[in-house]
Subunit: 345 residues, 2 copies
Amino acid sequence: MTDTAQGTSRRYGTRPTMKDVAARAGVGLKTVSRVVNGEAGVTPDTERRVQEAIAALGFRRNDSARILRKGRTASIGLVLEDLADPFYGPLSRAVEEVARAHGALLINGSSAEDPAREQELVLALCARRVDGLVVIPAGDDHRYLEPEIAAGVATVFVDRPAGRIDADTVLSDSFGGAREAVAHLIAHGHRRIGFIGDQPRIHTASERLRGYRAAMAAAGLPVEESWVAPGSTAPERVRAAAAAMLEGPAPVTALFAGNNRVTVTAVRVLRELPRPVALVGFDDFELADLVRPAITVVAQDAAELGRTAAGLLFRRLEGADDPPRRVVLPTRLIARGSGETAPVG
Amino acid sequence: MTDTAQGTSRRYGTRPTMKDVAARAGVGLKTVSRVVNGEAGVTPDTERRVQEAIAALGFRRNDSARILRKGRTASIGLVLEDLADPFYGPLSRAVEEVARAHGALLINGSSAEDPAREQELVLALCARRVDGLVVIPAGDDHRYLEPEIAAGVATVFVDRPAGRIDADTVLSDSFGGAREAVAHLIAHGHRRIGFIGDQPRIHTASERLRGYRAAMAAAGLPVEESWVAPGSTAPERVRAAAAAMLEGPAPVTALFAGNNRVTVTAVRVLRELPRPVALVGFDDFELADLVRPAITVVAQDAAELGRTAAGLLFRRLEGADDPPRRVVLPTRLIARGSGETAPVG
């Protein structure tokens, strides 16, 4: 490929090129290239003319594949949801390893689950000239990214889909994994199963709730609304939700926890009970196999999510202009003990 | 304070100001301000003259306090060591919370414990105009940062000290914490105590080893060199190191693990043994209280490290020009069971 800017123009729109800068400054392309790349052999006066043309045209040197080819410091941005959620550790590291293999730096930021913050951070990273973005979205409307994508910033969504724009996306099978988790509890004799999940406006949380309901419906089991508790993953909220399901005339005999933050609190709550309550958690976590009983989980492959998303991003940066892809990775049920106990109570 | 650039010039050196740009472009200060802030009311020709002067002088709009005052999107960079080490989760989040309270974005990157990568990332963040940096250093020579600091990029080191430059630094008391951990094992009757730590070139690792030796010496106990195993925290390396100490004619009866990565592997190794071996880990970790026996640790306050470092950074960004500070935070021994067993074997 000799001109990536043209190669991707059908998909990402057009933007000023070095040729445009050269024409406006009245110099040759090689001279522009020297200025842009900080090389010697340009008089101060010529450099000023080129800089002026660059400013006037809004030229941005983010023709990423070219930058990557030349071994300059390219960078990609990763927008996470929560820096302290261990689920994102392996995902981030995998994105970084792929970036590094391509000679690019990774720059991260966190939206703290706030759509306005996500937008602010994404645009700040674009203003700081990242060549591409991997986004775990907090919001559900990403049209604000359209000008950046048109200007050539490749973008891949991971863990949750993009809203109102079409973009490469890598997800885990939250629906299928949740359905399998709940079917597993049903297979071990449970009929009254509670679900404690994250905020329902989060795609993964609503998909996991859908999976819970699908498994219950497939087994012909009714769902009491008091068994369903979507909301914050703060320990106090999870504790209160669990307490409500575990008390009363028809307490649940099993819990399905919608993510690792919920599971960790559920483990603490269940240890304090006099009777055993079965537990399956969505997401694996460190030491899940060492607590007693060891925790049965539906594991996502967080590293593979990151690796796949970064791989798609570099495909785009290297010029791929086929339609956006959607990759859904399977989950894996790991039976360790907590999900295989018979109902009590 | 009316002119932060001058206010900090004694400490951070001088750099081109908007006044210099105005003088060179032959326009008023208000015009430069309009161009720099993207406001209306400037003709295209004047804007070009200003942009030319900005380029020629190397003016950078990183007069941070002013940016923060005006509510523009300021940003600070955080350079971590490992994105997947849970110790850095609360630290990162605390830095982010302080940044957010100051209206600034946080941008992260990871050195993956590689000094060259650290330098590349720090300079890339500076080139992307962060207003300040919080650095968990991988390297031991930070003179490469001197031009950036002179240009006004406030810098604070956390978790490990800066090398060969003088800068604000926030550390945990690794020496004192390690000494306390080992003294605790000695107080419970242990005489043959092994130490498995991180690479000795890492400051925290060498300080913890020093603490181990100090506690042994204070108790008049000899240290067999086969009991001391600094190195990688990769599970295979930690497993091999533990196996070597736990076999032979005079096996250790207790282990002191130098950080949470080592501790987690040590927990797995010790569960496979027929006899109990006491364990104290440096760093607390999620679920340390739920495994059996629960794990005794010397806890650092990772969030407080981040909060303190970010606080010092914003002090500098707000104009403080007193000499660099060094803050050392205490650690806290949390006895949970694994460190209070008597020696066996």
